[in-house]
Point group: C2
Chain length 283, copies 2
C-alpha cells in the first residue's frame, strides 16, 4: 500500500472522510519530520490502535523562539516518506506554513500554569505554540486517537490537559521513549551533536537513572545530594548549562510531590549549541 500525501486541509479531510466512510478508525501521529525510530515506533503503535495511520509532518514556526533553531531544524521529507512507506503508514499530511497559518491568523490556545514551568520557563511561548498547532491538527484531521512520545513528557501532559479542557473528541495515547544502545534518547536534534559531544550525551540518561534508582530504593538523601550536585557533575562530564533537572509529580508536574506515588525526573541541558531534554519515571 502506498502512502497517500495531502498538502492542504481540504485534501486531508477528504482522504480521512473516505476512510471513515469505509468504517475505518483513524490514528494521528503528529511530527515535525526528520523521523527516527522514536517516531516510527509511534506509527507502529498507532497501527495497532486504529485501521488507518495518518502522520502529520509540520515544522511549526509558532513553537520556536526568536533565538531558537527553526531555520536550521532538520528537514528531509523525501527520507521521511521512504521511512513511512516502509513502516506502513497510510496518510501523510504535510502542509505548508501558509496553509496552517494563513495571513491574519491570530488565535492561540493557552494552557495556563502547566505551560510556564520547566520547558515553558526556558522556552516562553513554546507550549502555546504546541497547544495551538496540535489543536489545529486534531481539528483538521479529526482522528479517533492521536499518539505522542513520552520523550517530550511535559508536552504530552500539556496535550492531555488542553484536549480535556477544550473537550476535543480524541483519545490521547503515548509511546515510550526510544533510546540508542548507550541510553541517549532519540531526538531529531541529536543530528546537531559533534562526534565529541555525541560521546558525552549518554551521561545524562545514566545520571538520571542513578537518581531514579536512589529514589525508588528509598535513599532520599542520596537522591537529593545527586540533584544538588547535578550542575557540577554534568559540567564535569562535558555538558554546558543545565536548564533544569527536577523531580516532579507525574500527573501535574508540580513540585509538591512529596505525598505522591508517581513521580517523574525531568531534565534539559545544553551540550554545546544543542539543547537536550530527557525524562524517566521513578518506579
Amino acid at each position: 500500500m502506498t502512502l497517500e500525501i495531502a498538502r492542504t486541509i481540504n485534501q486531508i479531510r477528504e482522504k480521512v472522510a473516505l476512510k471513515r466512510n469505509e468504517g475505518k478508525t483513524v490514528a494521528l501521529v503528529p511530527t515535525m519530520g526528520s523521523l527516527h525510530e522514536g517516531h516510527l515506533s509511534l506509527v507502529r503503535q498507532a497501527a495497532e490502535q486504529a485501521d488507518i495511520v495518518c502522520v502529520s509532518l509540520f515544522v511549526n514556526p509558532r513553537q520556536f523562539g526568536p533565538d531558537e533553531d527553526f531555520d536550521t531544524y532538520p528537514r528531509e521529507e523525501e527520507k521521511d516518506i521512504a521511512k513511512l512507506e516502509k513502516v506502513g503508514a497510510h496518510l501523510l499530511f504535510a502542509p505548508t506554513p501558509e496553509e496552517i497559518y494563513p495571513q491574519g491568523h491570530s488565535t492561540s490556545v493557552d494552557i495556563g500554569a502547566l505551560g510556564t514551568i520547566l520547558e515553558g520557563e526556558h522556552r516562553p511561548g513554546f507550549f502555546t505554540g504546541v497547544a495551538t498547532v496540535v489543536t489545529k491538527l486534531l481539528l483538521q484531521v479529526m482522528p479517533d486517537k492521536a499518539i505522542f512520545g513520552e520523550k517530550d513528557y511535559q508536552q504530552l501532559m500539556v496535550i492531555r490537559k488542553f484536549v480535556r479542557d477544550l473537550n476535543i473528541p480524541v483519545e490521547i495515547l503515548s509511546g515510550e521513549t526510544v533510546r540508542e544502545a548507550d541510553g541517549l534518547a532519540l531526538s531529531s536534534r541529536n543530528a546537531y551533536l559533534s562526534a565529541e559531544e555525541r560521546k558525552v550525551a549518554p551521561f545524562l540518561h545514566h545520571f538520571m537513572q542513578d537518581i531514579a534508582k536512589a529514589c525508588s530504593s528509598g535513599e532520599t538523601q542520596q537522591a537529593r545530594e545527586l540533584l544538588n550536585k547535578a550542575p557540577d557533575l554534568l559540567k564535569e562530564a562535558g555538558f554546558d548549562k543545565l536548564d533544569y533537572l527536577e523531580l516532579r509529580s507525574s500527573e501535574t508536574l508540580s513540585q509538591d510531590h512529596d505525598n505522591e506515588e508517581n513521580r517523574r525526573l525531568l531534565a534539559a541541558v545544553w551540550l554545546g549549541k544543542t539543547r537536550l531534554i530527557d525524562n524517566i519515571a521513578i518506579l
Copy 2:
C-alpha cells in the same frame, strides 16, 4: 415532539450521536438562557438549516468580569424550556458550571487583537471567555452548523475568527437583530431597565440610524458631526456613560475603513446600571 434535555457532556454527545446515526444534521444555538424572540428566531432559522436543533443554555462565568452581573443575570430555565418546546427545538444542553469547568480547568482560547478592541477594551477577558466556552460547546456537541445573533456583532466576528483559525469543523451562521416595535434591540439585560429607562432606551437605535443614513447618503460631514456630538446628545436623551459609538470595517472591525465598502456602526452605552449594546450595517 418533546424537548430532550442533556445535563452532561456525555449525555449530549450520546443524544447527538443517535441523531447522526439516523443520518440527521445538527445545528447548535448557543445561549445564556432567559430566552427572548431574538433567540427564538435563531432557533427557527436553525431548523431551516438542519434536521435537529440543539440549544445550549449556559451562563458562562468566564465571560463576566468581577464587577459585572454574573450573579444577577436572569435565569429562568423552566420558562426557557416552555419556549423551546413551543418553537420546536429538539435538544437542550443545560450543563452545570462544574460540568463545563471541572476543578483544574486552565485552558483558554485567545483570539488576539480583535478581542481587545470595542467590547474587549471595556470588558477585559470577555472575548477570551466567549471564545473558550464556544470552542468547548462546539467540540462537545460537534454540530454541522452553529448560529449566533448579529446583536452581538463583535462576538460573531470573534467566533468566525477562532473557528477559522482553529479549523473547527463547523459552519457559522448568523441571524439578524430582533427589535421591539420602538427599535430597542432585544436583550436579556433589557429586563434590568426601569420603566423610565425603558422609555429612553430606543433613542440609541434611532440615533444610530440617523448616523447610518447620513453615511449611506454620502453626507460624511453630517455623520462625523453626529458622532462627535454623540456623548452630549446621548446624555441629553437620558443615557449615562457612552463606552463607544464607532464606525468600523464590517469584517475586521478595524478603524481603517475609509476604503472599505462594508462598514458597521457599533455602540455600547450605559442607562443607569444597565449596559446596552447595539449595531447596524451602513448600507
